[in-house]
């Protein structure tokens, strides 16, 4: 329904090429390690943006599905099974599909609510999932933690396969968002964000749209959780189902720009390297929480729509000012329909 601008297509090619080339240009393991986590959060934030940014439904249960993806990979490829190679990456689409199917009944219940109530229901689900992760020892081994087979990738480029797998999921997530923005589903989600009842009045089936988006978003989140588990090779409930993961992805979307295509990536690029650099020092490991708080305040007070929409507004205002300066006063008269064609 919308055309793709040449500049938009060129921007996409430049961004994806630069991201793909990154680990081949900057080869130091610690640098690519930061890039792995940056790409992980870029994917998580993009997936969250699909529902939260486009439809305005603030879902806070995403980290639960991150954990489900992580524990699924941990159960499929335990330490006792030996090095699994690239197989965990190949099985990720099935992990995502399973998580998406699992999310449908949960979404069906959660979408009985709206607004703040929906956010409370979904964060409750997150804490239920975390408690279950401690209690369901047959699936998670509880607080003892769970190991995954360590891959025999070359030490010099150990991070690279994980980075590329996360990049592939991120590109998939952006492609889904790109498609949705151009499809009727995107119209539906944006209309729901503005006024769901009015959208229903125009004949829109909002329930199906919300469920499909919820499931897609959580399926992608679970896939990323699977890569994370394989990367760190030993997972605990408090880290696999961590509210801070949800807070991180939401903050990145708010910082970069809700409902934009590249806002989540921008938010991740700005926040994750700072977080990882702080995490490398034991004294400052948790300081990133202060950073998160500061960024939240900054966004709420100064950039309520996020960086990308604010910059777009600024550019539009400058263009409009420049147009006004160069055009005659008559050109600024409100548009009047000049003709009605039968």
């Amino acid at each position: 329904m919308r055309t793709v601008s040449r500049s938009g297509a060129a921007l996409t090619v430049v961004i994806v090429t630069a991201l793909a080339a990154f680990p081949f240009v900057f080869k130091a393991n610690w640098v690519v390690n930061i890039a792995v986590f940056t790409m992980m959060y870029a994917g998580l934030a993009t997936a969250w943006n699909l529902l939260g940014g486009y439809s305005g439904y603030i879902s806070l249960c995403n980290a639960a599905f991150f954990g489900i993806g992580a524990y699924t990979i941990a159960n499929l490829f335990p330490t006792s099974g030996g090095p699994p190679g690239s197989t965990p990456f190949l099985i990720l689409p099935l992990v995502g599909l399973g998580a998406a199917i699992l999310s449908i009944p949960i979404g069906w219940v959660a979408f009985r609510t709206r607004g703040v109530t929906f956010a409370i229901v979904t964060i409750s689900l997150l804490f239920v999932a975390q408690t279950l992760a401690f209690l369901m020892r047959s699936f998670t081994r509880g607080s003892q933690g769970m190991g995954i087979g360590v891959p025999r990738f070359s030490v010099a480029t150990y991070e690279r396969p994980f980075y590329l797998a996360l990049l592939a999921i991120f590109v998939f997530a952006v492609s889904v968002c790109w498609y949705v923005r151009r499809a009727k589903l995107g119209l539906t989600l944006f209309a729901i964000r503005d006024d769901e009842d009015r959208a229903r009045g125009l004949g829109v089936d909002t329930e199906i749209a919300k469920l499909v988006t919820f499931a897609t978003s959580l399926g992608i989140t679970a896939m990323i959780g699977g890569v994370w588990a394989y990367y760190i090779t030993y997972i605990y409930p408090q880290f696999a189902v961590d509210p801070l993961i949800t807070i991180g992805m939401v903050l990145m979307v708010f910082l970069g720009g809700k409902g934009t295509l590249w806002g989540p990536l921008l938010g991740a690029l700005l926040l994750v390297p700072a977080q990882r650099l702080l995490a490398q020092n034991a004294t400052t490991a948790r300081w990133y929480l202060i950073l998160y708080s500061g960024v939240f305040l900054f966004v709420i007070l100064l950039l309520p729509r996020g960086i990308i929409p604010s910059v777009q507004d600024l550019v539009a205002r400058l263009r409009s000012k420049s147009d006004r300066d160069t055009s005659s006063p008559a050109a600024t008269v409100p548009t009047v329909p000049t003709e009605v064609v039968p």
Binding site: K184, R198, V340
Partner: protein
């Protein structure tokens, strides 16, 4: 008179007490029918019942002889009756273009694309301001986009609820000009309007409502020339009309 929409003995209420008390009204095919009357007369309620937003307690609404009263808003929309409500009804953070697309949501993708191009050629504002957020437009511009959106489904009848409300005189003229042009193009419009003179000037037929019923109905020009109509609109009692008539 070729009647497309016929309302007979309509009673409706919100919580308690009837707002409509036996409304009878005919809407002429291809014309503008303007309903005027003081606040609380039930004008907007008539439109809500016709569009299915409010179920009538009694009475019938028929479209080309087929009873549509009591059906859902979606079913009535499918019959080609669209409602442009009194309050701002655009999606403010969506672009002008997307707002117009929403009007044809139930169409297939190909039909939607074709139809939005037709609408954009009828309403230049849709193309000229296509990328702008609808919420950033002035009140008059928003009303034009609302009307454009309402035309997406090629409606058989357009219900317009006080389109001039809250607009400055210049924007009001533009909106009424647009309604007149729509009518010239063959659209049937049932218009509810507080601004009696402007509404009746673009209408072929008119009706005066008071306390939930139509007190007077006829050719719009005749109503305009009737001194009692102005008195009624300004708050005079309809009883004087009844007494004379």
């Amino acid at each position: 008179m070729d009647v497309v929409l016929s309302i007979r003995g309509l009673f409706a209420r919100y919580d308690r007490g009837d707002v409509l008390r036996g409304v009878d009204l005919d809407v002429e095919r291809g014309g503008v029918t303007c309903v005027i009357g003081p606040n609380g007369a039930g004008k907007s309620t008539v439109l809500k019942v016709v569009s299915g937003l409010l179920r009538p307690r009694a009475g019938d609404v028929a479209l080309d002889g087929e009873r549509i009263s009591g059906r859902s808003a979606r079913q009535i929309l499918d019959h080609g009756v669209v409602h442009v409500p009194q309050e701002r009804s655009l999606f403010p953070s969506m672009s002008v273009w997307d707002n117009v697309l929403m009007g044809g949501y139930v169409l297939s993708r190909a039909a939607l694309r074709r139809r939005v191009d037709e609408i954009a050629s009828r309403f230049p504002i849709v193309r000229e301001r296509r990328r702008e957020r609808a919420g950033s437009l002035s009140g008059g511009e928003q009303k034009l986009v609302e009307i454009a959106r309402a035309m997406m489904l090629e409606p058989r009848v357009v219900l317009m609820d006080e389109p001039s409300m809250g607009l400055d005189p210049k924007a009001r003229r533009v909106v009424f000009g647009t309604i007149r042009q729509l009518n010239d193009a063959g659209a049937t419009v049932l218009l509810v309007e507080q601004n009696a003179r402007s509404g009746l000037e673009i209408a072929g037929r008119g009706a005066v409502m008071e306390t939930g019923a139509v007190r007077l109905e006829g050719v719009a020009r005749d109503l305009l020339d009737n001194p009692e109509v102005a008195r009624l609109y300004l708050g005079g009692a309809a009883r004087s009309l009844e007494d004379r008539g």
